[in-house]
């Protein structure tokens, strides 16, 4: 265990201590103890900056299950470090925020911080792991922790609904991802991402390449809320606001982005990867921004906005993967990767701060509904300022960082439309158009969020709290820090260029870099009058027009429907699965023994019949048969007549007697076939059995002592005929095939040795007591158990009427 491993699992270790800290140090808000850890980790990870910016990596291995190739390998390169700093940095800010957000008196802080630390540790594990299985383990822990945090206020029905939904969707994706990882292992024989990238030829030639890719992408898409799996994210807004800010904007939803970026060197460069990522990304961007406009709740707007921005990043990663197709020659596409990484950072900063300000507004006014809010500008000036910065950045206005990444995004999609690969010449034009429309709607919802909350008339009569005022300073620190980062990255975008962004790009596209070279990263505001700038002008103009016409289109019915229509599929899917399985159980589990017996026999008929047909095992052998004596004919005919008559007899007593007749006939058959011991035993056993039957009749309840008529049932007849036919044909076939095989029987041995070895002439008895005495011993044991069972059933009956 190296320091890096300890760092990865340190949140879990601290989580163990939290309940004790909570219980024994009640006077101090538990969050303060938690706060130390992300700060320390952040500082620790800062130390890796010089290493990764030099292009070096850190790799430490701890064996976990070496025999299966599963090792807890941590790996730090530019991409991991970027995420590590996001997780720990925003984690620290969120913990600080939560200290002021959650009351120490009324909330169960021990639960909250245990879940939060669990999540933080899992997230660190996801981005640090080099081993796919370890990554998967941490991945599922993030799903679990996320569900626990969403249902933090578990007494609310909506919280548990949201938690269940996010759990079902993300775990579905997680499991399919595990399937993808296994396929990768089948192809390459290793779980290590490093080794996969080194041996990428093993994968690209395989037929499993596309299935593995699709399964892994399903996992990434469900986690990162891509269309059509985004529906869990708006419902996850029932979580406390620090959770929304941390998990559902800055870290967990970016786990899918991380995975896609991490596996780009493995799967990138093929048309499918390019199309799935950029296609679904742009659809998510479009759909998310369109849906966000309809929302009335601040956090719901932010949720759909997050979905939309994640789609943007995903689309950029897809476009950037085209650079692997071209090689270093066309650096437009490395620009798309640059934009993706840069927007990832920007989004984490402004979305985190926006969630926190939304939380402050909720905390201070008691509502997040934009129809009730208004005129908060003068009442909450700090919140207003921070929100303004975040919203302007989200809308893509200069001079904030959102403007820069959006300009680069426009460049990416415009270049994509000029591509001549992957049949982009026909569909490529859709990209800039969709991106542009999505940006307009992004601008519109940003304006709605800003103006409806902070301008207009203050409406205290609609609010439940008496006195609305600015939040305490402690709650404001985190959004202020994030807001100032937005400004700093906006004015000085290049401070991150070679410390964070370039190493991350190098990690995403390692094959493109010759040794000792780095990607050229230069982010600047002024590009000259080019298409991107005019697109931005268009966005501002059209967005403003649409916002000004808001009174008109808010009357449209579509604006009223806040819920995403895709929820229809989820809700009906879940309820359909439940009612469907209930229906199947009702049909199948009738509780009637005759039905189960029918299932069993039909199954046996089908299984044996299919096997015999498949292996062509039907055979009839007639040459080895001996002749049949006349009295055997007679016996057989009587036997058949007695058997056939049983179903037509209407009286139980008669049936018992006929069955007894059958038994005695069987004894006769044994005589005919020269088996005196068997004949004797059969005779005696049959007699005793008939006596037992008679005894049992005596105990039938009085009411039921009536004649019964066997009902005719065609299905039962068919099943009975099927079983009989099957067993007969198996007997014929095995006789025929057995005589073909011509193996010597063991009977020869017994005939020769029964006198010599066991000293007896009655071979049957010698076999029973000597050669195979163990069978006999256990058979009499069975008899003894049966007798004890009868005693227990009859004598030890419960007195009274109580059930056992």
């Amino acid at each position: 265990m190296t320091l890096l491993h300890w760092a990865t699992i340190s949140p879990f270790l601290l989580a163990i201590l939290i309940p004790f800290l909570y219980k024994y140090l009640r006077s101090i808000h538990t969050g303060w103890f938690v706060l130390i850890l992300p700060v320390v980790l952040f500082v620790y990870f800062i130390n890796f900056l010089p290493i990764t910016s030099n292009g070096d990596v850190v790799k430490e291995v701890v064996p976990w299950v070496p025999s299966l190739g599963i090792n807890f390998t941590v790996y730090v390169d530019g991409l991991s470090l970027l995420f590590l700093l996001l997780i720990t940095g925003i984690g620290a800010l969120v913990v600080l925020y939560s200290i002021y957000y959650l009351s120490k008196k009324t909330e169960k802080l021990n639960n909250f911080y245990v879940y939060l630390l669990m999540f933080m540790g899992a997230m660190l594990g996801v981005v640090l792991s080099d081993n796919l299985i370890v990554l998967y383990v941490f991945w599922e822990v993030t799903s679990l922790a996320s569900s626990l945090l969403i249902s933090y206020w578990f007494h609310r029905e909506k919280s548990t609904y949201g938690a269940q939904k996010s759990m079902l969707i993300t775990v579905m994706g997680g499991l399919s991802m595990l399937g993808g990882f296994c396929l990768v292992y089948v192809m390459a024989g290793t779980f290590s991402i490093r080794e996969l990238i080194a041996n990428v030829d093993l994968l690209t030639g395989s037929t499993l390449f596309i299935p593995a890719m699709l399964l892994i992408l399903l996992g990434a898409f469900t986690k990162s809320a891509q269309f059509p799996f985004h529906i869990w994210l708006p419902d996850a807004m029932e979580a406390p606001t620090p959770v929304s800010a941390y998990l559902h904007s800055a870290t967990m939803v970016k786990a899918g982005i991380y995975l896609v970026a991490r596996l780009t060197p493995v799967f990138g460069g093929v048309p499918e990867w390019f199309w799935i990522l950029s296609g679904f990304g742009i659809i998510t961007l479009f759909w998310g921004s369109l849906s966000a406009v309809r929302q009335k709740d601040l956090k719901a707007i932010l949720a759909f906005s997050t979905i939309s921005q994640l789609g943007l990043i995903m689309c950029l990663l897809g476009l950037g993967s085209a650079s692997m197709y071209f090689g270093m020659g066309e650096d437009y596409f490395t620009l798309a990767i640059l934009a993706a990484v840069f927007h990832l950072i920007n989004h984490a900063t402004f979305k985190g701060s926006l969630f926190m300000t939304a939380g402050i507004i909720d905390h201070e006014t008691g509502t997040r509904d934009i129809r009730k809010l208004g005129g908060l500008m003068t009442i909450m000036p700090v919140t207003f300022t921070v929100s303004l910065i975040g919203i302007a950045s989200m809308a893509g206005l200069p001079p904030f960082n959102g403007f820069l990444s959006k300009e680069m995004f426009f460049t990416g999609v415009l270049r994509a439309s000029e591509l001549s690969i992957f049949s982009m010449e026909t569909w490529g034009l859709l990209f800039p158009i969709l991106a542009w429309i999505a940006s307009i709607f992004t601008f519109v919802y940003c304006m709605i969020m800003f103006f409806k909350t902070f301008t207009g008339k203050f409406q205290p009569e609609k609010l439940e709290v008496d006195h609305v005022h600015e939040a305490p300073i402690g709650m404001l620190i985190s959004p202020i820090v994030l807001g100032s980062l937005v400004v700093v990255f906006g004015f000085f975008p290049n401070i991150l260029a070679y410390t964070l962004i370039q190493p991350a790009m190098a990690a995403i596209l390692p094959s493109l870099l010759p040794d000792g070279e780095v990607f050229h990263v230069d982010i600047y505001h002024w590009h000259g009058f080019n298409a991107e700038l005019f697109m931005t002008f268009g966005v501002i103009i059209f967005g403003t027009v649409i916002y000004l016409l808001m009174k008109k289109w808010t009357k449209l019915s579509i604006y009223m429907r806040e819920r995403d229509p895709l929820n229809w599929f989820y809700d009906n899917g879940v309820s359909g699965t439940i009612s469907g399985s209930q229906a199947i159980t009702r049909i199948q589990m009738t509780g009637l023994l005759r039905d189960y017996f029918a299932y069993m026999t039909v199954f046996i008929i089908l299984l044996c019949g299919y096997t015999m047909i498949k292996y062509d095992a039907f055979a009839i052998e007639t040459t080895n048969l001996t002749g049949i004596d006349p009295f055997m004919w007679v016996l057989t005919l009587v036997f058949i007549a007695a058997t056939v008559s049983i179903p037509f007899i209407h009286h139980r007593m008669t049936i018992v007697i006929v069955v007894g007749v059958l038994g005695f006939l069987l004894a006769l058959l044994f005589v005919v076939f020269r088996a005196p011991d068997l004949a004797l035993t059969q005779l005696l056993v049959e007699t005793v059995t008939v006596v037992l039957f008679m005894l049992a009749f005596y105990h039938l309840p009085e009411l039921r002592k009536e004649k019964f008529t066997p009902r005719f049932n065609i299905v039962n007849l068919l099943i009975a005929l099927g079983v009989g036919g099957l067993v007969t044909s198996i007997a014929f076939s095995s006789f025929a095939l057995g005589s073909e095989a011509n193996l010597p029987t063991i009977a020869e041995f017994f005939i020769e040795n029964s006198k010599e070895l066991a000293g007896g002439y009655n071979m049957v008895n010698v076999i029973l007591v000597d050669f195979r005495g163990l069978d006999t011993l256990l058979e009499v044991l069975v008899l003894g158990i049966a007798a004890l069972g009868v005693i227990a059933l009859v004598k030890l009956r419960m007195t009274g009427r109580e059930d056992v």
Binding site: L680, V685, Y698, N762, N765, V766, L774, A787
Partner: protein, 148 residues
């Protein structure tokens, strides 16, 4: 089998008398079957069933109380004794270093019987005989005695 209170008890003189004689015949035949098992049809299982039939006939011919007095045997413990004997035979061979249930036989000059074959299979068969008698009678008597 079960005395019916509603009826006046009939006088089964014929049945009783015949039972007295026939039971001896059946019992001696069952003992013959048991000992003949090694070389002729018969053995513990058949002998046991035959003995059980003889007892059953006694139960049919007389009433329960009488037979219980005449045959003060606990058939359930008979099962246990039989199993112990059978397993004991098997374990004995282990004591001499042979596998479980190895059987031995030897010929001896016995006073009255002349040259006779004695085999360890016989005690084993005796165990089986006792279990079978015990089981058959336990089951039938338990059900027959049940009043509910």
């Amino acid at each position: 089998m079960k005395p019916n209170q509603n009826q006046i008890k009939t006088n089964d003189l014929m049945l009783n008398t015949v039972t007295r004689f026939v039971t001896f015949l059946i019992l001696s035949f069952s003992v013959y079957l048991f000992f003949a098992g090694h070389n002729d049809p018969g053995g513990g299982f058949i002998g046991g069933l035959m003995t059980a039939s003889a007892f059953l006939l006694m139960y049919l011919g007389f009433d329960m109380k009488t037979i219980k007095k005449a045959l003060p045997i606990n058939f359930a413990s008979m099962i246990a004794i039989g199993l112990l004997i059978a397993i004991g035979t098997g374990v004995t061979s282990m004591l001499f270093g042979y596998p479980f249930l190895t059987q031995f036989f030897e010929y001896y000059q016995l006073p009255i019987l002349g040259e006779t074959e004695l085999t360890t299979a016989l005690p084993f068969d005796l165990g089986i005989y006792l279990v079978v008698v015990g089981v058959a009678l336990t089951i039938i008597l338990t059900i027959a005695e049940d009043d509910e």
